[in-house]
Amino acid sequence: MTLEVSLRHHFEAFRLDVDFNAPMGVTALFGKSGAGKTCVVQAVAGLLRPDAGRIVLNGTCLFDSAARIDLPVHRRRLGYVFQDARLFPHMSVTENLRYAARVQGRRGVPAEEARVVEMLGIGDLLARRPAGLSGGERQRVAIGRALLAEPALLLLDEPMAALDEARKAEILPYLERLRDAAGLPILFVSHAVSEVARLATTVVVLQEGQVVRHGPTADVLSDPDVVPALGVQDAGAMIHARIVAHHPDGLSELQTCGGRLFLPGVSGAVGACLRVRIRAQDVILSRGVPEGLSALNVLAGRIVSLRTGEGSGALVRIACDEEHILARITRRSAEAMGLAEGDAIHAIVKSVSVAQGDIGG
Protein backbone atom coordinates (compact mmCIF):
# COMPACT_ATOMS: atom_id res chain seq x y z
CA MET A 1 0.00 0.00 0.00
CA THR A 2 2.09 2.89 -1.22
CA LEU A 3 1.85 5.96 -3.34
CA GLU A 4 4.66 6.83 -5.72
CA VAL A 5 4.72 10.38 -7.00
CA SER A 6 6.99 11.88 -9.60
CA LEU A 7 5.90 15.19 -11.10
CA ARG A 8 7.13 18.05 -13.17
CA HIS A 9 5.00 21.06 -13.93
CA HIS A 10 5.65 24.62 -15.07
CA PHE A 11 3.67 27.41 -13.54
CA GLU A 12 4.09 31.03 -14.46
CA ALA A 13 5.86 31.84 -11.24
CA PHE A 14 7.66 28.62 -10.36
CA ARG A 15 8.56 25.06 -11.29
CA LEU A 16 7.26 21.99 -9.55
CA ASP A 17 9.71 19.10 -9.58
CA VAL A 18 8.85 16.47 -7.02
CA ASP A 19 9.67 12.81 -6.43
CA PHE A 20 8.63 10.89 -3.32
CA ASN A 21 7.04 7.72 -2.00
CA ALA A 22 4.33 7.70 0.63
CA PRO A 23 4.20 4.46 2.65
CA MET A 24 1.33 3.38 4.91
CA GLY A 25 0.50 5.83 7.66
CA VAL A 26 0.42 9.59 7.41
CA THR A 27 2.79 11.28 4.99
CA ALA A 28 2.94 15.00 5.63
CA LEU A 29 3.64 17.30 2.71
CA PHE A 30 5.16 20.15 4.57
CA GLY A 31 6.24 23.57 3.44
CA LYS A 32 5.49 27.27 3.57
CA SER A 33 2.59 28.62 1.54
CA GLY A 34 3.47 28.70 -2.13
CA ALA A 35 5.83 25.73 -1.83
CA GLY A 36 3.59 23.68 -4.14
CA LYS A 37 1.98 21.37 -1.59
CA THR A 38 -1.59 21.76 -2.82
CA CYS A 39 -0.50 21.41 -6.46
CA VAL A 40 0.99 18.01 -5.66
CA VAL A 41 -2.23 16.86 -3.99
CA GLN A 42 -4.34 18.18 -6.87
CA ALA A 43 -2.14 16.32 -9.35
CA VAL A 44 -2.55 13.10 -7.37
CA ALA A 45 -6.33 13.63 -7.37
CA GLY A 46 -6.40 14.40 -11.08
CA LEU A 47 -7.62 17.98 -10.61
CA LEU A 48 -4.38 19.30 -12.06
CA ARG A 49 -2.67 17.71 -15.03
CA PRO A 50 1.11 17.94 -14.70
CA ASP A 51 3.34 18.50 -17.73
CA ALA A 52 5.16 15.27 -17.06
CA GLY A 53 5.44 12.56 -14.47
CA ARG A 54 4.05 9.37 -13.08
CA ILE A 55 1.71 8.65 -10.17
CA VAL A 56 1.20 5.08 -9.02
CA LEU A 57 -1.08 4.04 -6.18
CA ASN A 58 -0.82 0.46 -4.89
CA GLY A 59 0.39 -0.70 -8.28
CA THR A 60 -2.37 1.11 -10.20
CA CYS A 61 -1.09 3.78 -12.52
CA LEU A 62 -3.15 6.96 -12.07
CA PHE A 63 -1.06 9.11 -14.35
CA ASP A 64 1.85 8.48 -16.67
CA SER A 65 2.75 11.14 -19.18
CA ALA A 66 5.08 8.80 -21.08
CA ALA A 67 2.44 6.06 -21.44
CA ARG A 68 -0.33 8.66 -21.96
CA ILE A 69 -2.31 7.42 -18.99
CA ASP A 70 -4.49 9.94 -17.21
CA LEU A 71 -7.22 8.32 -15.15
CA PRO A 72 -10.17 10.69 -14.76
CA VAL A 73 -10.78 12.11 -11.29
CA HIS A 74 -13.85 10.01 -10.57
CA ARG A 75 -12.04 6.74 -11.25
CA ARG A 76 -9.02 7.35 -9.02
CA ARG A 77 -10.68 6.11 -5.81
CA LEU A 78 -9.39 8.85 -3.55
CA GLY A 79 -10.87 10.55 -0.56
CA TYR A 80 -10.08 14.25 -0.81
CA VAL A 81 -10.72 16.49 2.17
CA PHE A 82 -10.46 20.12 1.10
CA GLN A 83 -9.44 23.11 3.20
CA ASP A 84 -12.96 24.48 2.96
CA ALA A 85 -14.88 21.19 3.51
CA ARG A 86 -16.97 21.64 0.33
CA LEU A 87 -20.05 19.90 1.65
CA PHE A 88 -22.99 19.93 -0.76
CA PRO A 89 -25.24 22.70 0.59
CA HIS A 90 -28.44 21.25 -0.85
CA MET A 91 -28.03 17.93 0.94
CA SER A 92 -28.27 16.90 4.59
CA VAL A 93 -25.25 15.54 6.42
CA THR A 94 -26.48 11.99 5.83
CA GLU A 95 -26.98 12.63 2.11
CA ASN A 96 -23.47 14.08 1.96
CA LEU A 97 -22.07 11.00 3.67
CA ARG A 98 -23.92 8.68 1.30
CA TYR A 99 -23.14 10.65 -1.84
CA ALA A 100 -20.17 8.51 -2.91
CA ALA A 101 -22.11 5.25 -2.57
CA ARG A 102 -24.99 6.82 -4.52
CA VAL A 103 -22.91 7.97 -7.48
CA GLN A 104 -20.76 4.87 -7.51
CA GLY A 105 -23.95 2.85 -7.80
CA ARG A 106 -23.29 0.64 -4.82
CA ARG A 107 -25.28 0.06 -1.70
CA GLY A 108 -23.77 1.75 1.36
CA VAL A 109 -22.66 -0.51 4.18
CA PRO A 110 -24.63 0.56 7.27
CA ALA A 111 -22.06 -0.92 9.67
CA GLU A 112 -19.25 0.98 7.95
CA GLU A 113 -21.27 4.18 8.02
CA ALA A 114 -22.01 3.68 11.72
CA ARG A 115 -18.32 3.10 12.42
CA VAL A 116 -17.25 6.29 10.61
CA VAL A 117 -20.02 8.36 12.23
CA GLU A 118 -18.98 7.06 15.64
CA MET A 119 -15.26 7.62 15.04
CA LEU A 120 -15.83 11.23 13.95
CA GLY A 121 -18.49 11.98 16.55
CA ILE A 122 -21.03 13.29 14.03
CA GLY A 123 -24.02 11.20 15.13
CA ASP A 124 -25.97 14.26 16.30
CA LEU A 125 -25.50 16.12 13.03
CA LEU A 126 -26.92 13.60 10.58
CA ALA A 127 -30.25 15.33 9.92
CA ARG A 128 -28.74 18.84 9.74
CA ARG A 129 -27.79 20.92 6.73
CA PRO A 130 -24.16 22.02 6.19
CA ALA A 131 -25.05 25.72 6.57
CA GLY A 132 -25.97 25.12 10.21
CA LEU A 133 -22.68 23.44 11.15
CA SER A 134 -19.57 24.95 12.73
CA GLY A 135 -16.27 24.86 10.84
CA GLY A 136 -14.98 21.93 12.87
CA GLU A 137 -18.20 19.96 12.42
CA ARG A 138 -18.12 20.56 8.68
CA GLN A 139 -14.54 19.31 8.45
CA ARG A 140 -15.45 16.15 10.37
CA VAL A 141 -18.39 15.49 8.05
CA ALA A 142 -16.11 16.09 5.06
CA ILE A 143 -13.63 13.54 6.42
CA GLY A 144 -16.48 11.06 6.93
CA ARG A 145 -17.77 11.65 3.41
CA ALA A 146 -14.29 11.00 1.99
CA LEU A 147 -13.83 7.83 4.07
CA LEU A 148 -17.18 6.42 2.95
CA ALA A 149 -16.07 6.70 -0.68
CA GLU A 150 -14.00 3.59 0.10
CA PRO A 151 -10.81 5.33 -1.00
CA ALA A 152 -7.48 3.66 -1.56
CA LEU A 153 -5.77 6.86 -0.41
CA LEU A 154 -6.89 9.76 1.70
CA LEU A 155 -5.81 13.29 0.77
CA LEU A 156 -6.08 15.89 3.51
CA ASP A 157 -5.34 19.36 2.16
CA GLU A 158 -4.78 21.51 5.24
CA PRO A 159 -8.04 20.34 6.77
CA MET A 160 -7.50 22.63 9.74
CA ALA A 161 -6.21 25.76 8.03
CA ALA A 162 -9.55 27.55 8.13
CA LEU A 163 -10.19 26.71 11.78
CA ASP A 164 -9.35 28.59 14.97
CA GLU A 165 -7.19 27.00 17.68
CA ALA A 166 -10.14 25.61 19.64
CA ARG A 167 -11.61 23.91 16.54
CA LYS A 168 -8.19 22.55 15.60
CA ALA A 169 -7.89 21.00 19.03
CA GLU A 170 -11.33 19.50 18.44
CA ILE A 171 -10.33 17.89 15.13
CA LEU A 172 -6.82 16.66 15.91
CA PRO A 173 -7.83 13.69 18.07
CA TYR A 174 -10.12 12.49 15.26
CA LEU A 175 -7.27 12.69 12.79
CA GLU A 176 -5.09 10.67 15.16
CA ARG A 177 -7.79 8.03 15.43
CA LEU A 178 -8.05 8.04 11.68
CA ARG A 179 -4.32 7.47 11.28
CA ASP A 180 -4.46 4.53 13.66
CA ALA A 181 -7.71 2.99 12.41
CA ALA A 182 -8.17 3.82 8.74
CA GLY A 183 -5.70 1.31 7.38
CA LEU A 184 -4.92 3.31 4.27
CA PRO A 185 -2.17 5.72 3.32
CA ILE A 186 -2.91 9.36 4.08
CA LEU A 187 -1.30 12.30 2.35
CA PHE A 188 -1.57 15.25 4.67
CA VAL A 189 -0.76 18.80 3.61
CA SER A 190 0.29 21.20 6.32
CA HIS A 191 2.32 24.29 7.00
CA ALA A 192 2.20 23.87 10.79
CA VAL A 193 5.11 21.99 12.34
CA SER A 194 3.02 21.16 15.41
CA GLU A 195 0.43 19.29 13.30
CA VAL A 196 3.13 17.42 11.43
CA ALA A 197 4.91 16.46 14.66
CA ARG A 198 1.66 15.17 16.08
CA LEU A 199 0.28 13.26 13.10
CA ALA A 200 2.87 12.33 10.52
CA THR A 201 4.83 9.12 10.24
CA THR A 202 6.76 10.38 7.21
CA VAL A 203 7.54 13.95 6.24
CA VAL A 204 8.23 15.36 2.78
CA VAL A 205 9.54 18.89 3.06
CA LEU A 206 8.83 21.05 0.02
CA GLN A 207 10.52 24.32 -0.76
CA GLU A 208 9.78 26.30 -3.93
CA GLY A 209 8.46 23.26 -5.72
CA GLN A 210 11.34 20.94 -4.81
CA VAL A 211 11.63 18.18 -2.22
CA VAL A 212 14.38 19.28 0.19
CA ARG A 213 14.04 16.44 2.71
CA HIS A 214 12.10 13.20 2.92
CA GLY A 215 12.09 10.72 5.80
CA PRO A 216 10.58 9.55 9.08
CA THR A 217 9.09 12.43 11.08
CA ALA A 218 11.50 12.28 14.02
CA ASP A 219 14.54 12.26 11.72
CA VAL A 220 13.34 15.13 9.57
CA LEU A 221 12.23 17.40 12.40
CA SER A 222 15.51 16.98 14.30
CA ASP A 223 17.65 17.66 11.24
CA PRO A 224 19.35 21.06 11.51
CA ASP A 225 19.55 21.29 7.72
CA VAL A 226 15.75 21.32 7.45
CA VAL A 227 15.32 24.23 9.85
CA PRO A 228 15.41 26.97 7.18
CA ALA A 229 12.49 25.25 5.43
CA LEU A 230 10.52 24.83 8.65
CA GLY A 231 11.13 28.34 9.90
CA VAL A 232 13.47 29.03 12.81
CA GLN A 233 10.66 29.87 15.23
CA ASP A 234 8.83 26.60 14.65
CA ALA A 235 11.76 24.25 14.38
CA GLY A 236 11.97 21.53 16.96
CA ALA A 237 12.27 17.80 17.36
CA MET A 238 9.57 15.28 18.11
CA ILE A 239 10.30 12.53 20.61
CA HIS A 240 8.25 9.65 21.92
CA ALA A 241 7.30 9.41 25.56
CA ARG A 242 5.41 7.04 27.83
CA ILE A 243 3.25 8.22 30.73
CA VAL A 244 4.72 6.94 34.00
CA ALA A 245 2.53 8.68 36.55
CA HIS A 246 0.13 11.58 37.11
CA HIS A 247 1.25 13.46 40.22
CA PRO A 248 -1.10 15.28 42.62
CA ASP A 249 0.53 18.67 41.89
CA GLY A 250 -0.87 18.54 38.33
CA LEU A 251 2.33 17.42 36.63
CA SER A 252 2.62 14.19 34.75
CA GLU A 253 5.80 12.18 34.63
CA LEU A 254 6.88 10.90 31.21
CA GLN A 255 9.65 8.50 30.35
CA THR A 256 11.64 9.52 27.29
CA CYS A 257 14.84 8.43 25.62
CA GLY A 258 16.94 10.96 27.52
CA GLY A 259 15.32 10.79 30.94
CA ARG A 260 12.17 11.87 32.74
CA LEU A 261 10.03 14.81 31.69
CA PHE A 262 7.49 16.54 33.93
CA LEU A 263 4.69 18.21 32.03
CA PRO A 264 1.45 19.81 33.13
CA GLY A 265 -2.00 18.88 31.86
CA VAL A 266 -1.19 15.62 30.14
CA SER A 267 -4.22 13.41 29.66
CA GLY A 268 -4.04 9.71 28.98
CA ALA A 269 -3.72 6.52 30.94
CA VAL A 270 -0.51 5.55 32.68
CA GLY A 271 1.48 3.46 30.22
CA ALA A 272 0.12 5.30 27.17
CA CYS A 273 2.58 6.49 24.55
CA LEU A 274 2.70 10.10 23.43
CA ARG A 275 4.54 12.32 21.01
CA VAL A 276 6.14 15.36 22.54
CA ARG A 277 7.46 18.21 20.49
CA ILE A 278 10.25 20.27 21.96
CA ARG A 279 10.86 23.51 20.17
CA ALA A 280 14.52 24.13 19.45
CA GLN A 281 14.41 27.63 20.92
CA ASP A 282 13.04 26.32 24.23
CA VAL A 283 16.09 24.19 24.91
CA ILE A 284 19.05 25.34 27.04
CA LEU A 285 22.31 23.39 26.95
CA SER A 286 24.64 22.61 29.85
CA ARG A 287 27.84 20.60 29.98
CA GLY A 288 27.50 19.45 33.58
CA VAL A 289 24.43 18.18 35.37
CA PRO A 290 22.68 21.46 36.14
CA GLU A 291 21.98 22.31 39.80
CA GLY A 292 19.97 25.07 41.42
CA LEU A 293 17.70 25.53 38.41
CA SER A 294 13.97 25.97 38.40
CA ALA A 295 13.61 23.89 35.26
CA LEU A 296 12.57 20.31 36.02
CA ASN A 297 13.36 18.62 32.76
CA VAL A 298 16.91 17.67 32.01
CA LEU A 299 17.64 15.20 29.24
CA ALA A 300 21.07 13.69 28.82
CA GLY A 301 22.56 13.06 25.40
CA ARG A 302 25.44 13.50 23.03
CA ILE A 303 25.98 16.12 20.34
CA VAL A 304 25.79 14.57 16.89
CA SER A 305 25.91 17.68 14.78
CA LEU A 306 26.43 21.37 15.08
CA ARG A 307 25.29 23.76 12.40
CA THR A 308 26.10 27.43 12.38
CA GLY A 309 24.34 29.51 9.81
CA GLU A 310 25.01 32.99 8.52
CA GLY A 311 23.13 34.60 11.41
CA SER A 312 23.92 34.69 15.11
CA GLY A 313 22.32 31.32 15.84
CA ALA A 314 23.59 27.78 16.03
CA LEU A 315 21.62 24.56 15.81
CA VAL A 316 22.68 21.58 17.87
CA ARG A 317 21.36 18.09 17.28
CA ILE A 318 21.55 15.91 20.33
CA ALA A 319 21.16 12.14 20.33
CA CYS A 320 19.48 10.53 23.34
CA ASP A 321 19.53 6.81 22.66
CA GLU A 322 17.66 6.33 19.39
CA GLU A 323 15.98 9.72 19.30
CA HIS A 324 17.10 13.26 18.70
CA ILE A 325 16.47 16.66 20.20
CA LEU A 326 17.20 19.90 18.46
CA ALA A 327 18.48 22.96 20.32
CA ARG A 328 18.85 26.46 18.97
CA ILE A 329 21.38 28.55 20.87
CA THR A 330 23.51 31.53 19.93
CA ARG A 331 26.72 31.00 18.07
CA ARG A 332 28.48 32.97 20.76
CA SER A 333 27.51 30.45 23.48
CA ALA A 334 28.37 27.52 21.25
CA GLU A 335 31.85 28.98 20.85
CA ALA A 336 32.18 29.96 24.51
CA MET A 337 31.22 26.45 25.61
CA GLY A 338 33.52 24.94 22.99
CA LEU A 339 30.80 22.60 21.80
CA ALA A 340 31.88 19.92 19.39
CA GLU A 341 30.39 16.83 17.86
CA GLY A 342 30.61 13.83 20.17
CA ASP A 343 30.48 15.87 23.41
CA ALA A 344 28.21 14.70 26.22
CA ILE A 345 25.59 17.38 26.94
CA HIS A 346 22.50 18.07 29.02
CA ALA A 347 19.44 19.63 27.44
CA ILE A 348 17.22 21.63 29.78
CA VAL A 349 13.58 22.09 28.83
CA LYS A 350 11.24 24.29 30.84
CA SER A 351 8.16 22.18 31.42
CA VAL A 352 5.78 24.97 30.47
CA SER A 353 7.46 25.32 27.11
CA VAL A 354 6.02 22.12 25.77
CA ALA A 355 2.78 23.26 24.22
CA GLN A 356 -0.47 21.42 24.78
CA GLY A 357 -1.10 20.86 21.11
CA ASP A 358 2.27 19.20 20.76
CA ILE A 359 1.36 16.24 22.88
CA GLY A 360 -0.47 13.56 21.03
CA GLY A 361 -0.77 9.82 20.73
Partner: protein, 232 residues
Protein backbone atom coordinates in the same frame (compact mmCIF):
# COMPACT_ATOMS: atom_id res chain seq x y z
CA UNK B 1 -65.68 35.64 -18.37
CA UNK B 2 -65.88 35.40 -22.14
CA UNK B 3 -68.79 37.83 -21.98
CA UNK B 4 -66.76 40.39 -20.06
CA UNK B 5 -63.75 40.03 -22.35
CA UNK B 6 -65.64 39.28 -25.55
CA UNK B 7 -64.98 36.22 -27.72
CA UNK B 8 -62.13 37.93 -29.52
CA UNK B 9 -60.40 39.11 -26.33
CA UNK B 10 -60.81 35.76 -24.62
CA UNK B 11 -59.30 33.97 -27.64
CA UNK B 12 -56.34 36.35 -27.56
CA UNK B 13 -55.71 35.65 -23.85
CA UNK B 14 -55.84 31.88 -24.34
CA UNK B 15 -53.62 32.07 -27.41
CA UNK B 16 -51.03 34.17 -25.57
CA UNK B 17 -50.95 31.70 -22.67
CA UNK B 18 -50.53 28.81 -25.09
CA UNK B 19 -47.85 30.58 -27.09
CA UNK B 20 -45.91 31.65 -23.97
CA UNK B 21 -46.02 28.25 -22.28
CA UNK B 22 -44.78 26.50 -25.41
CA UNK B 23 -42.14 29.14 -26.07
CA UNK B 24 -40.80 28.86 -22.51
CA UNK B 25 -40.94 25.08 -22.23
CA UNK B 26 -39.29 24.38 -25.57
CA UNK B 27 -36.52 26.94 -25.23
CA UNK B 28 -35.61 26.02 -21.63
CA UNK B 29 -33.32 23.02 -22.38
CA UNK B 30 -31.53 25.01 -25.07
CA UNK B 31 -31.33 27.99 -22.70
CA UNK B 32 -29.64 25.84 -20.03
CA UNK B 33 -27.23 24.39 -22.60
CA UNK B 34 -26.26 27.79 -24.03
CA UNK B 35 -25.94 29.34 -20.56
CA UNK B 36 -23.65 26.46 -19.51
CA UNK B 37 -21.56 26.91 -22.64
CA UNK B 38 -21.18 30.65 -22.07
CA UNK B 39 -20.53 30.32 -18.34
CA UNK B 40 -18.17 27.37 -18.28
CA UNK B 41 -16.49 26.83 -21.62
CA UNK B 42 -13.82 28.71 -23.50
CA UNK B 43 -14.03 28.17 -27.24
CA UNK B 44 -13.31 30.00 -30.46
CA UNK B 45 -16.27 32.14 -31.46
CA UNK B 46 -17.67 32.38 -27.92
CA UNK B 47 -18.19 36.11 -28.37
CA UNK B 48 -20.06 35.48 -31.64
CA UNK B 49 -22.41 33.03 -29.95
CA UNK B 50 -22.88 35.47 -27.10
CA UNK B 51 -23.65 38.23 -29.61
CA UNK B 52 -26.19 36.17 -31.54
CA UNK B 53 -27.96 35.16 -28.33
CA UNK B 54 -28.23 38.79 -27.27
CA UNK B 55 -29.16 40.16 -30.69
CA UNK B 56 -32.97 40.06 -30.14
CA UNK B 57 -32.46 42.17 -27.01
CA UNK B 58 -30.86 45.05 -28.89
CA UNK B 59 -32.40 44.83 -32.38
CA UNK B 60 -35.73 46.54 -33.01
CA UNK B 61 -38.34 43.74 -32.59
CA UNK B 62 -39.66 44.51 -36.06
CA UNK B 63 -36.25 43.65 -37.50
CA UNK B 64 -36.18 40.32 -35.62
CA UNK B 65 -39.68 39.52 -36.89
CA UNK B 66 -38.76 40.43 -40.44
CA UNK B 67 -35.58 38.31 -40.28
CA UNK B 68 -37.71 35.38 -39.10
CA UNK B 69 -40.06 35.93 -42.02
CA UNK B 70 -37.13 36.10 -44.45
CA UNK B 71 -35.69 32.78 -43.26
CA UNK B 72 -38.75 30.85 -42.12
CA UNK B 73 -41.53 32.17 -44.39
CA UNK B 74 -43.22 29.54 -46.59
CA UNK B 75 -41.27 30.66 -49.66
CA UNK B 76 -37.98 31.08 -47.80
CA UNK B 77 -35.49 28.19 -48.06
CA UNK B 78 -35.59 27.05 -44.45
CA UNK B 79 -39.36 27.56 -44.18
CA UNK B 80 -40.00 25.56 -47.34
CA UNK B 81 -37.72 22.78 -46.09
CA UNK B 82 -39.57 22.58 -42.77
CA UNK B 83 -42.94 22.44 -44.52
CA UNK B 84 -41.89 19.73 -46.98
CA UNK B 85 -40.04 17.56 -44.48
CA UNK B 86 -42.04 17.93 -41.29
CA UNK B 87 -45.22 19.58 -42.50
CA UNK B 88 -44.37 22.39 -40.08
CA UNK B 89 -45.58 25.85 -41.08
CA UNK B 90 -44.50 28.76 -38.91
CA UNK B 91 -45.41 31.97 -40.77
CA UNK B 92 -48.87 33.31 -39.94
CA UNK B 93 -49.54 30.40 -37.54
CA UNK B 94 -49.58 30.24 -33.73
CA UNK B 95 -46.45 28.08 -33.92
CA UNK B 96 -44.68 31.02 -35.51
CA UNK B 97 -45.90 33.24 -32.69
CA UNK B 98 -44.38 30.79 -30.20
CA UNK B 99 -41.08 30.83 -32.09
CA UNK B 100 -41.01 34.63 -32.25
CA UNK B 101 -41.74 34.82 -28.51
CA UNK B 102 -39.06 32.22 -27.75
CA UNK B 103 -36.44 34.08 -29.78
CA UNK B 104 -37.28 37.40 -28.14
CA UNK B 105 -37.27 35.90 -24.62
CA UNK B 106 -34.13 33.78 -25.11
CA UNK B 107 -31.52 36.39 -24.08
CA UNK B 108 -33.33 37.08 -20.79
CA UNK B 109 -33.55 33.39 -20.03
CA UNK B 110 -29.90 32.74 -20.86
CA UNK B 111 -28.69 35.69 -18.79
CA UNK B 112 -30.52 34.52 -15.66
CA UNK B 113 -29.34 30.91 -15.98
CA UNK B 114 -25.80 31.93 -16.86
CA UNK B 115 -25.55 34.00 -13.67
CA UNK B 116 -26.72 30.96 -11.71
CA UNK B 117 -24.04 28.78 -13.34
CA UNK B 118 -21.38 31.34 -12.52
CA UNK B 119 -22.48 31.40 -8.89
CA UNK B 120 -21.92 27.66 -8.45
CA UNK B 121 -18.60 26.95 -6.73
CA UNK B 122 -16.58 24.75 -9.13
CA UNK B 123 -14.95 23.37 -5.99
CA UNK B 124 -18.18 21.54 -5.16
CA UNK B 125 -18.14 19.91 -8.58
CA UNK B 126 -14.50 18.91 -8.10
CA UNK B 127 -15.41 17.43 -4.72
CA UNK B 128 -18.22 15.42 -6.32
CA UNK B 129 -15.78 14.10 -8.95
CA UNK B 130 -13.28 12.97 -6.29
CA UNK B 131 -16.13 11.03 -4.64
CA UNK B 132 -16.53 9.00 -7.82
CA UNK B 133 -19.16 10.87 -9.82
CA UNK B 134 -18.65 10.99 -13.59
CA UNK B 135 -19.24 14.38 -15.23
CA UNK B 136 -22.90 13.97 -16.15
CA UNK B 137 -23.61 12.67 -12.66
CA UNK B 138 -21.92 15.73 -11.14
CA UNK B 139 -24.11 17.91 -13.34
CA UNK B 140 -27.34 16.17 -12.39
CA UNK B 141 -26.65 15.77 -8.66
CA UNK B 142 -24.77 18.96 -7.83
CA UNK B 143 -24.83 21.63 -10.53
CA UNK B 144 -28.45 21.35 -11.61
CA UNK B 145 -29.97 21.44 -8.09
CA UNK B 146 -27.80 24.45 -7.25
CA UNK B 147 -28.87 26.46 -10.31
CA UNK B 148 -32.56 25.60 -9.94
CA UNK B 149 -33.48 29.06 -8.59
CA UNK B 150 -31.75 30.61 -11.62
CA UNK B 151 -33.61 28.31 -14.01
CA UNK B 152 -36.92 29.25 -12.38
CA UNK B 153 -36.14 32.95 -12.60
CA UNK B 154 -35.09 32.56 -16.23
CA UNK B 155 -38.25 30.64 -17.09
CA UNK B 156 -40.56 33.18 -15.48
CA UNK B 157 -38.77 36.10 -17.11
CA UNK B 158 -39.06 34.34 -20.46
CA UNK B 159 -42.76 33.59 -19.90
CA UNK B 160 -43.49 37.21 -18.98
CA UNK B 161 -41.53 38.48 -21.97
CA UNK B 162 -43.39 36.03 -24.26
CA UNK B 163 -46.75 37.20 -22.91
CA UNK B 164 -45.84 40.76 -23.80
CA UNK B 165 -44.06 40.15 -27.12
CA UNK B 166 -45.56 42.33 -29.84
CA UNK B 167 -43.26 43.67 -32.55
CA UNK B 168 -41.59 40.50 -33.77
CA UNK B 169 -44.82 38.51 -33.47
CA UNK B 170 -46.98 40.90 -35.48
CA UNK B 171 -44.31 41.14 -38.18
CA UNK B 172 -43.78 37.38 -38.47
CA UNK B 173 -47.32 36.01 -38.01
CA UNK B 174 -49.50 39.13 -38.26
CA UNK B 175 -52.55 39.42 -35.95
CA UNK B 176 -55.30 37.24 -37.39
CA UNK B 177 -58.14 37.20 -34.82
CA UNK B 178 -58.59 33.69 -33.38
CA UNK B 179 -55.42 32.42 -35.04
CA UNK B 180 -52.40 34.61 -34.41
CA UNK B 181 -53.82 37.54 -32.49
CA UNK B 182 -52.03 37.50 -29.14
CA UNK B 183 -52.92 39.57 -26.09
CA UNK B 184 -50.72 42.56 -26.94
CA UNK B 185 -51.80 42.63 -30.57
CA UNK B 186 -55.45 42.40 -29.49
CA UNK B 187 -54.95 45.40 -27.19
CA UNK B 188 -53.33 47.29 -30.05
CA UNK B 189 -56.17 46.23 -32.37
CA UNK B 190 -58.89 47.45 -30.02
CA UNK B 191 -57.14 50.80 -29.66
CA UNK B 192 -57.29 51.25 -33.44
CA UNK B 193 -61.13 51.07 -33.65
CA UNK B 194 -63.50 53.70 -32.26
CA UNK B 195 -65.13 52.51 -29.00
CA UNK B 196 -62.63 49.72 -28.50
CA UNK B 197 -61.03 51.33 -25.46
CA UNK B 198 -63.15 49.53 -22.87
CA UNK B 199 -62.15 46.18 -24.31
CA UNK B 200 -58.52 47.26 -24.47
CA UNK B 201 -58.54 48.30 -20.78
CA UNK B 202 -60.05 44.97 -19.79
CA UNK B 203 -57.28 43.12 -21.64
CA UNK B 204 -54.72 45.39 -20.01
CA UNK B 205 -56.07 44.32 -16.60
CA UNK B 206 -55.74 40.65 -17.58
CA UNK B 207 -52.25 41.27 -18.90
CA UNK B 208 -51.08 42.99 -15.71
CA UNK B 209 -52.68 40.29 -13.54
CA UNK B 210 -51.04 37.40 -15.39
CA UNK B 211 -47.64 39.10 -15.35
CA UNK B 212 -47.83 39.94 -11.64
CA UNK B 213 -49.12 36.46 -10.80
CA UNK B 214 -46.24 34.83 -12.63
CA UNK B 215 -43.72 37.07 -10.92
CA UNK B 216 -45.09 36.47 -7.41
CA UNK B 217 -45.33 32.72 -7.99
CA UNK B 218 -41.74 32.59 -9.18
CA UNK B 219 -40.53 34.69 -6.24
CA UNK B 220 -42.16 32.30 -3.78
CA UNK B 221 -40.85 29.23 -5.59
CA UNK B 222 -37.36 30.62 -6.03
CA UNK B 223 -37.18 31.58 -2.35
CA UNK B 224 -38.25 28.11 -1.30
CA UNK B 225 -35.78 26.41 -3.63
CA UNK B 226 -33.07 28.92 -2.70
CA UNK B 227 -33.45 28.09 0.97
CA UNK B 228 -33.17 24.40 0.23
CA UNK B 229 -30.13 24.97 -1.94
CA UNK B 230 -28.43 27.22 0.60
CA UNK B 231 -28.75 24.38 3.08
CA UNK B 232 -31.19 25.86 5.59
Amino acid sequence: MSGWLGAEGWAAVLLSLKVSIWATALSLPLGVAVAWLLARKEFAGKQVVNGIVHLPLILPPVVTGYLLLLTLGRRAPVGAFLEQTFGLVLAFRWTGAALAAAVMAFPLMVRAIRLAFEAVDPGLEAAAATLGAPRWRVFVTVTLPLILPGILTGAVLAFAKAMGEFGATITFVSAIPGRTQTLPSAIYGFLQVPGGETQAVRLVIVSVTVAMGALVASEILARRVGKRVAGQ
